[in-house]
Symmetry: D2
Subunit: 284 residues, 4 copies
C-alpha cells in the first residue's frame, strides 16, 4: 500500500466547505484516494475524512498546520492529520480470558491491523508467556478493592511511558475509575459483551439468558466516566435459542466480541471515527 | 401437504419420557414426520413437539385425551394437540401503519401462513377499503383516554364473537390494559419496534437514534400485563449508521418488523412455541 | 423531505475533479446534503453522486446542461441530473407469484418508494383485480413459444406508451429476448432467486437443495442479453438446513427476494447506482 | 461438563424407530440430554443423534455394540458411539497464512474446542516456532509438482502414525490427490474461501471481485476426489461493496473462514454431522 495522509475535519455545516478544502488540496497536487462526507441534519454539524496519496502533495506534513490555518479559521474547522506509515502505539489491557488479545496479536503480527502493540497489562500473570513469545512487554498489575486508585495510576504511567496513543480493554474485567477515563478521552476503547444499551454492567450473558432474548451481541465503544455509556463505535449480534445456556452464549459471544473489537479498533486507528457529543460518525 | 397432528408436551424431566410417548405413538401406528425435544437443565423441565401423519394413527383425534391420560398422569404431562388442516382463527389489531397488516394479509391469501383471518380491528378507519377487498370484516373501534376500558371491552367482545384463537398487534399503537392481557394469556402477540429489552415504550427508533446504536431491531413477543416484558418469540436486527435519521431507521425497521412478526406468528400457529415462566422454547 | 437534485458523474480519475465540481456548485449556492465519491483503482475511473437542496441553487434545473458543459469537457464527465420530486415511471412485469408485486405496490402507495407505478404486465390474468384495486392499469400479455417475439414487442410498446423509465421483472418467469434487453440497457431490473453466480437459470431452489448449501439467496441485477449475467445491484441470503425442502426454501427465499428487489429498485430510482462495464458502483 | 456418550444412527425411515431406540436407552437408565431426529422425505432415510449422560447407563460403553445388535439388525441401523471425554485426534495442514491455524490453536488450548491437536503439517517452514510454542509437533513437508505423490504419502504416514482421526485443511493451498481423499472419506475437512458452488478453484476472491458480487463467503466441506465438490458442512457470508479490492475482500473473508471452519470442525468432532450421499445432516 502506498503511504497516505488521512485528514479528518468537522465544523458547523454551511455552503462551500468541501469546495474550499478540496480546492486547497487540489492546489497542492493532492490525489484523493478515499473521501467521505456527512452533514448531520440534527446537529447542523459537518464531518469529513479524506485519504490523500502522501507523495502527491507539494508540501511536507509538518507544514500542514500552518497551511490549513486560514481555512480552519474561516470555517471553524477542527481537524486531525495522520500518516498511514506511522502505526498507532497501542496498549492492551486484559484479564484472564485471552480470545480478544490473541486475536489482536495475530492481526498485528500479520500486518492486517496497522498498529504497534507496545505493552500488554493484566491483573493476572497467566498470559505472560504467550505475550512474551510475541516480543511484547507484559506488565502484571494486580487490582484489588483495598488498593484504591494505585493500580490505575500504575496503568496510566505504563501507558504514558510507552507513549501509548490508544488503550484497548480487551475483556479487562475491571471498571476503570473516572479519573483514568477522563485523562484519555476518545482514546480508551472497550468491548462490552452485550448489545448495548441492553444488559449494562456485569454478567451480561446471564442477564440475556434470564430475559430469554433470541440474539446476543457485543459492543465496541469509547470509555467514558459513566459505565458502558460512552459513544458506540460498532456492534454485532449472533442468534441463540432456548437450548443455549449462559456458558454456550459466552462461547458464541466470544467470536462476536473478537470481530467487533477488531473492527472498532481498525476504524479508530485509521481515523474513521469522529466523536460528536456522545455519538460517533464512522466512515467505515 | 398431508394433514398432520401436532402434539406438544411439557413435564418435569426424568428418564423414559420420550420412550413412553413415542412407544405410545408407535403402538398406534403413528408416523412421526418431525420431532423436537428440549431438556432444560436450568429449570429441570422437559419439552417436546411431534408432528404425526394424521392418516397413520389408528384412532380419531377426539379419542386422544382419553388415550393419553395414563401417560399424562404418570409423567405429569401438560399437552396440546392440534390438526394442521384446521387453521387458527386470527384477529389483527392495527393502527394507521399497515406494513405488517398488508404483509400478513398477503401471506394468508396465498396460503403461506396457515391461519384464518376472521377480523381486523383498528382505532382509525383508514384501512377499511383495503381490508374489505380481502373479504375480511373490519371493525373501527376508536380509542381515547376518556373512554376508559370501553373500547377494550369492545375488542374483547369482537375477539370472542369471532371465536378468535390468536390476537395479533400488528403495530397497534395503543397499550392494552392489564385486564385484556390477562384474559388471553399466551394468545396475544405483539411486534415491538426495538431489540428488547432495549428501548421499551414509545418512540424506540428515536431512542435508538439518540443512543447512537449501530443496529436496530424488532421483537415479537407475547403480551403480558407488564409493558414490553412478556416472553420473547423472535427477534432480528438490521445495520444502521450515523447517516440514518429516526425516519430512515423507521423505514429500515419496517422490513424487520414484518419479517419477525410473520415468523413469530407462524411459530405460534404451528404450535412451535412452548411458554415456560417468562421464556419460550421455540422449535423453529 | 425538501426537494433535492441528484447529480451523478463519472470520468477518468485525476487530481482536482471534486474541487472543480464542488467549486462550481458552491459558486451557485448549492447546499450539498449527501455526497459520495469512489475512485476505482482497478479501472482508473472516478464516480460521484451528490444530492443538493433544490432551492439553494441560483439557476433552474433546465440550465444545468449548459452550465456544466465547460467542466464536462475539461474532465470528460458523463453525468445525469434528476429531481427528487419527479418520481420515476415504473412498469412491473409479473407472472403468477405476486409477493414482489404486492410488496412494491405497498411501498409505492405508502410513499416509501419514490416511484410512479404506471403499468403492470402479466402473462397470466390472475392478478388483475388486485392491481385494479390500486388504480394501476393491468395488461394481460400471454406468452407462448409459438408467438415468437410478438408478446415482447407488445411489452416494449406498453412500456414506451406509458413513458416508462424503469422496467421491473418482479418474478416474471419468462426470459426476455435479447432485442428487448438491448433496447433498454441499464433500465430493466430483475430479481433472480439465487445467490448469483450460483444456480443460474431455472429452478434455483431445487439446484440449491441438490447441492446441499447452507444459505440461499437472491440477486437484484440489471438485465443484459446474457441470462442472469448482468451487473449486480444487491444480494442477500438466509440460512437453511437439511430439514428444508425446496418448497420451504422457496418460502424462505420469497422474503429475501422482496427485500433485495425493493432495495435494488430504491437504489436505482434514487440514482445511487452507476454502471461501469459489467459491474456497479452503489452509493447505498 | 458431565461426560456424555453421543450416539448417531441412520436407517430407512419407518414407524417405531425412535420408540425402539429410546425404549432401549430408557431400559438401561439412559438420561438423554440432547436429542435430534430428521426424517428426510426426499430419500426416505432417517437420521438421529442422542447425547446420554455417561454415568446414567447401566452398562460400559464397550458393551454397546453387542447390546444394540438386535435393534441394528431389525431396523438396518448404521450407528456410531463416542465419548465426550475422549477428544478426537486432529492433524492440521496449513500453508503460509495462519489465521485459521492460529484460531484453532487458541480454541484448543482454551478448551473451547474438544479436540487434541496431535500434529501440524505445512509445505512452508514459517510457522514452526509458533506451533512449537504450543507444544505441538510441526512437520515441514515441501510440495512441488515434480515430487508426484511422495509428499502426500508422507502426509498420510504422519496422519496415521499420529493416530489422527480428522485432518483439517486450514487454508492448505495445495490440492490433495484423489488417492489421499479416498483413503480417509468423511475425515478430511477443508475451508474454501468462497460461497460454494460459486468460484470453485483458485483465487476465489479475485473471481468474486471480477463478477461484482455484493457478498463474499466461505464454505467448510468434506474433501472428496472432485475439487470443491464434497458435502457441505457450513457456510457464511459477509457484505462487500464496490470499494473493496480483492485484497480487502481477502481481509474480510479471513474472519468468515476462521469462524466457518471452527464451527464446521466443532460439528464434526461432536458427531453432529451425518453424511448421506453428497449432502450432510447437521444437528447444530
Amino acid at each position: 500500500m502506498a503511504d497516505t495522509l488521512v485528514l479528518t475535519m468537522s465544523c458547523p455545516d454551511r455552503v462551500g466547505i468541501v469546495a474550499a478544502v478540496t480546492g486547497f488540496l487540489a492546489g497542492h497536487g493532492g490525489w484523493i484516494t478515499e473521501a467521505n462526507y456527512h452533514a448531520d441534519a440534527g446537529s447542523g454539524w459537518f464531518f469529513m475524512r479524506q485519504a490523500i496519496l502522501a507523495e502527491s502533495l507539494d508540501f511536507p506534513v509538518a507544514d500542514f498546520p500552518r497551511l490549513i490555518e486560514p481555512l480552519a479559521r474561516q470555517f471553524g474547522l477542527s481537524w486531525t492529520i495522520s500518516e498511514s506509515r506511522i502505526r498507532k502505539r497501542t496498549v492492551i489491557l486484559v484479564s484472564r480470558q485471552d480470545h480478544c488479545l490473541s486475536d489482536l496479536l495475530h492481526r498485528w503480527r500479520t500486518g492486517e491491523l496497522n498498529i504497534e502493540i507496545v505493552a500488554v497489562v493484566s491483573n493476572h500473570p497467566d498470559l505472560e508467556s504467550f505475550v512474551a513469545w510475541h516480543g511484547v512487554p507484559f506488565h502484571y498489575v494486580p487490582v484489588a478493592p483495598e488498593m484504591g486508585r494505585a493500580p490505575f495510576e500504575e496503568i496510566a504511567r505504563i501507558f504514558s511511558e510507552a507513549r501509548g496513543e490508544v488503550m484497548v480493554l480487551a475483556r479487562y474485567m475491571r471498571i476503570l475509575p473516572p479519573f483514568l477515563c477522563e485523562r484519555f478521552p476518545g482514546r480508551i476503547i472497550n468491548i462490552h459483551h452485550s448489545f448495548l444499551p441492553s444488559f449494562v454492567g456485569s454478567r451480561p450473558y446471564h442477564q440475556a439468558y434470564e430475559r430469554g432474548v433470541k440474539l446476543i451481541g457485543a459492543t465496541c465503544h469509547y470509555v467514558s466516566a459513566e459505565l458502558d455509556a460512552g459513544p458506540i463505535i460498532d456492534q454485532d449480534v449472533i442468534r441463540v435459542d432456548h437450548g443455549d445456556s449462559p456458558e454456550e452464549m459466552a462461547r458464541l459471544g466470544r467470536d462476536i466480541e473478537k470481530m467487533v473489537l477488531a473492527r472498532g479498533l481498525r476504524y479508530h486507528v485509521e481515523d474513521r471515527v469522529l466523536i460528536h457529543e456522545n455519538k460517533t460518525v464512522v466512515f467505515a
